[in-house]
Structure formats: structure tokens, C-alpha cells
Amino acid sequence: MALILELAIQGAQMMLVLLLAPLLTGFVRKVKARLLRRQGPSLIQPYRDLLRLMRKEVVLADNASWLFRATPYLVFAATWVAAALIPTFATGLKFSWTADLIAIVALLGSTRFFLALAGMDVGTSFGGIGSSREVMIASLAEPAMLLIVFSLALIAGATQLSTVAAVMGSPDVGLRVSLGMSLIALVMVAIAENARIPVDNPATHLELTMVHEAMILEYSGRHLAMIEFAAFLKLLLYVSLISCVFVPWGLVTASASAGSYVLGVIVYMGKLAVCGVLLALFETAIAKMRVFRVPNFLGAALMLALLGTLLLFVSRSL
């Protein structure tokens, strides 16, 4: 019985991230539009987009290979699995030990690996430009992310997210310099990973400035729907990650009552909303960078993360 309940909660989490991901993106778009004094699309527009794309026919380039067709599903599945492993409203889920934080980072790395390959599959120069820039961004963002994971793991003594969240929620962590550095670095990485302004513009189709959109330029129909969905999920994943590590309050621990789960979900949605507003504010306030300024931006994130980790290592002897 307990097993079935645990499985049900795990399943609920998987469904929850799937349902909330487009809403979060829609929310951010809405807030951004309102900040610009535009009406903006409705909150549920991303759902409509997805459904419309799914029902459309796929137009496939003549020389697209099986890899091109398999990639959307792989990317979607890997992102979904990664998102489902992050504590959103509850910690200690049935399968939360399947992959720790390092593995989640690597899972996201594999989605990018396949997307970059898919960008090169058709053999247009746009795909190449997107892929080559994406791997350049990743080559800085990924080590930064891993160093952030190191910092968190050193403070919490674990790379298991449930444990990290529990330790961060306990009062004996306190304010720490290296935590602050990790938070800033994590936000910078999250912005780069989700192709947000100032690194990339999710709304652009201006050829020479786009990175993520250039990679997926040849996709259409249900394939594009899968990739878009994966992008929504990824944004949700990073927001959940930041909120579960740095704002771990309101997370439901194992074997709580049904009411507390409902409360947990409500708190979680509140966190999402706050993060969404902050993201929209940030994106509205800042201009997009040139592509070759991005390495400086991410290099700063990398250095911050490294500094945080070093501080932890060095001050550990106190």
C-alpha cells in the first residue's frame, strides 16, 4: 500500500512538471508583455501552441536521417526524467535516488549533445552556427554548473537533492559567502542554459544572433512540439532547482498527510510565480549581448563557482 502511494506521488510529480512547464513559460511571457505595456498572449497560449504543432504534419528535409527524427523524443524524455527527479513540492520521492545532482546535470548535457547533433544533421549553415555556438556556451556553463554542485555538495555533505534540500532548510547552514556566490553563478548558468536574454533571445528569429533557435531551425510539426516542450520543461527544472536548494521551505517530506501535499503544491506554485516575475523583470531590464561577450559572462559564472568551491575547501578546516 505504501509502495503504491509512493509510486502515485512520484507519478503525480511527473505529471505536475509536465502540466506546469508550459504554464510557467506562458506566465513569463505574459509578465514580460505587461512590463512592456502590451496585452501579451494568454497564459495558456503555450499549451495551444503545443497542441497545434502536434497536430501538424512534419516537413522533413530531404537528407534528414533517423537521428534527426529520434532526437526530439530523446531530448524530451531526458529532460522530463531530469525534471521529475528534482524535488518540486516534496522531497524523498520513490525514485529520487536514481540520479543525484551530478547525474541530472549530465542528463541535461546529453539533451544538448543530441540537439547539437540534430542541428548539424541537415547540413545547412544555420544548423552549424547554432550547434557550434551552443557547444561553446555549454563548454563554459557545464563546468560552472558542476562547480556549483560541488559547493552545494560540500555544504550539504551530499549530492542527493533531497538531502541537499533538507540540509539547506535546516537552521544551522546560515548565510554563507560561498552560497551567495553559488546562487549568483547558478542564476547565470540557468539563464545561459535556457537561452534567455542576455545570452540568447528565445523570441528571436534574426539569423545571426540566435543560438538555440538556429539549432532547431529545421524542425517542424510534432518534432518541434517535443523540442519546445523540452525547453519549457528545462526552464521549469532550473527554477525548481534554484527554489528547492535556495528556498527549501514548504517542501513536503516523506509520509506526510494529503493536506500537506496540497499545501506543498501551492507553495511550489508560489515559488514558480515569484521566480517567473523576477526572470521577466531581469529580461526586460537588460539587453542581449553579442555572442562573443557570452564567454565573458559565463566565464564570470565559472570563476564565481570556482571561488565559492575554493572558499569552502579552504575554510573547511575551521
Binding site: 551567495g180 565573458n296 564565481l304 571561488l307
Partner: protein, 220 residues
């Protein structure tokens, strides 16, 4: 004494290091000066917090001096100088940002290791604060070393001085008189350098201090 109050002091000191790093990363003059203003604001907060927890009222004066002079007067002055010199669009990096940041990390590590080694019996958090102060000083020097432009060297110099103030307030020493005289000496230095800048500018049509080397015939 320990707990949240110390955590906040510590966080502010760490924040100061962080802002020093941001200074390394800026390659535009206006951005650099804005970051310097932020540096001074964080310093003022940090000093004020020290004043609060040490119950030392003269430190409030120090904080106010930092806030008024370093966060407002000097940045505004520098802004004006830059505009009058017409160099606000200059981008100047003598050394690339990546190596500079790496060197910065090395310096911070060095000061941490050094401070933690030479003061084994002191209070742990105070030790780390001292280490932070030393790293701010070293980072300020690094800014001075890696920049070509005289204005950014001034900024580096003043951020270095901020590190000194942080060290002094953390160590519960430094009488107010010394404090004020240091602050004024900085102000004088700022004015002298400002005048100096215009002189260089008049003579060489540039504030790149490489021009001075050329004049002395030392460059290559």
C-alpha cells in the same frame, strides 16, 4: 555574538570580494565606476554593521564617509571627468578577462591560505574577514596592474583602500582621527590624480599611461 550577526558581517565582507571581482570583469569605464560605487555602498553597509555589532559609534562616521565620498562624490566626479575627456566609449583591457579572473582567484586563495595559516588562534570568522580584506587589497592592486587607463587605475587604487578600511573596522582598532585623515588623503589623491589626468590629456591627447612611457622613451 555568533550566529546571524556574524553571518551577516561575513556575508557583507564576502560581498565586497564579489564586487571586487565584478570590477575585474568590467571593461567599460562607466560600468567600472558604477561597480566601484557599489563597492563603496557595500563597504558602508559592512562598516555600519560592524558599528552596530561592536556598538562603536565612531564607525558610523566612517560608514557615512564611505557612503558620501566614495559612493557618491567620487563616482560622480569620475563620471564628469570621463565625459569631459570624452573617453566614455573606450574599452581597455591590457590583459584578457579570463586570465585576469584566474589571477584574481589565485590571489583570493593565496590570501585565504596565508591568513588562515598565520592566525591559527584567532576567532575563525574574524580570520576569514581578514582574509577577505587582504584579498580585496590584492584585487585592487590587480585592477591597477591590468588596466591601461589612468581612470581605472584610480578606481583600482580606491578599491584597495576600501579593503584597508574593511580590515581596520573588522579588527576593532583604528581611531577615528586616522580614519578621517585616510579618507581625506584619498580625496586629495583623487583630486591630484584628476588634475594629473587633465595634464596628461593636454600633453599627449590620451589618458593611456603608455603615452608616459613613450615620452620617457622606455617603451620598447
Amino acid at each position: 555574538m555568533h550566529g546571524l550577526t556574524f553571518d551577516i558581517a561575513h556575508l557583507l565582507a564576502g560581498g565586497l570580494v564579489l564586487v571586487s571581482f565584478m570590477m575585474l570583469y568590467q571593461d567599460r569605464l562607466f560600468a567600472l565606476i558604477n561597480v566601484f560605487a557599489l563597492h563603496a555602498v557595500v563597504l558602508a553597509l559592512s562598516v555600519a554593521w560592524q558599528a552596530y555589532i561592536q556598538d562603536a559609534h565612531h564607525l558610523y562616521v566612517t560608514a557615512a564617509i564611505a557612503l558620501v565620498f566614495k559612493a557618491i562624490v567620487i563616482p560622480v566626479g569620475l563620471h564628469r571627468i570621463i565625459q569631459r575627456l570624452g573617453i566614455h566609449r573606450d574599452i581597455e583591457t591590457a590583459v584578457g578577462i579570463g586570465p585576469t579572473m584566474l589571477a584574481g582567484i589565485g590571489l583570493v586563495t593565496l590570501s585565504m591560505v596565508l591568513m588562515l595559516r598565520v592566525t591559527p588562534e584567532a576567532d575563525p570568522l574574524a580570520r576569514e574577514d581578514l582574509a577577505f580584506a587582504l584579498s580585496i587589497i590584492l584585487l585592487g592592486l590587480l585592477v591597477m596592474v591590468t588596466r591601461r587607463n589612468a581612470v581605472s587605475q584610480v578606481v583600482g587604487f580606491m578599491s584597495l583602500e576600501n579593503g584597508l578600511v574593511l580590515a581596520a573596522t573588522g579588527a576593532k582598532g583604528m581611531p577615528l582621527v586616522v580614519e578621517i585623515s585616510v579618507a581625506f588623503s584619498i580625496l586629495i589623491a583623487f583630486i591630484v590624480i584628476g588634475v594629473f589626468l587633465f595634464r596628461i590629456r593636454e600633453r599627449f591627447d590620451s589618458v593611456d599611461i603608455g603615452a608616459l612611457d613613450d615620452y620617457r622613451g622606455e617603451r620598447r
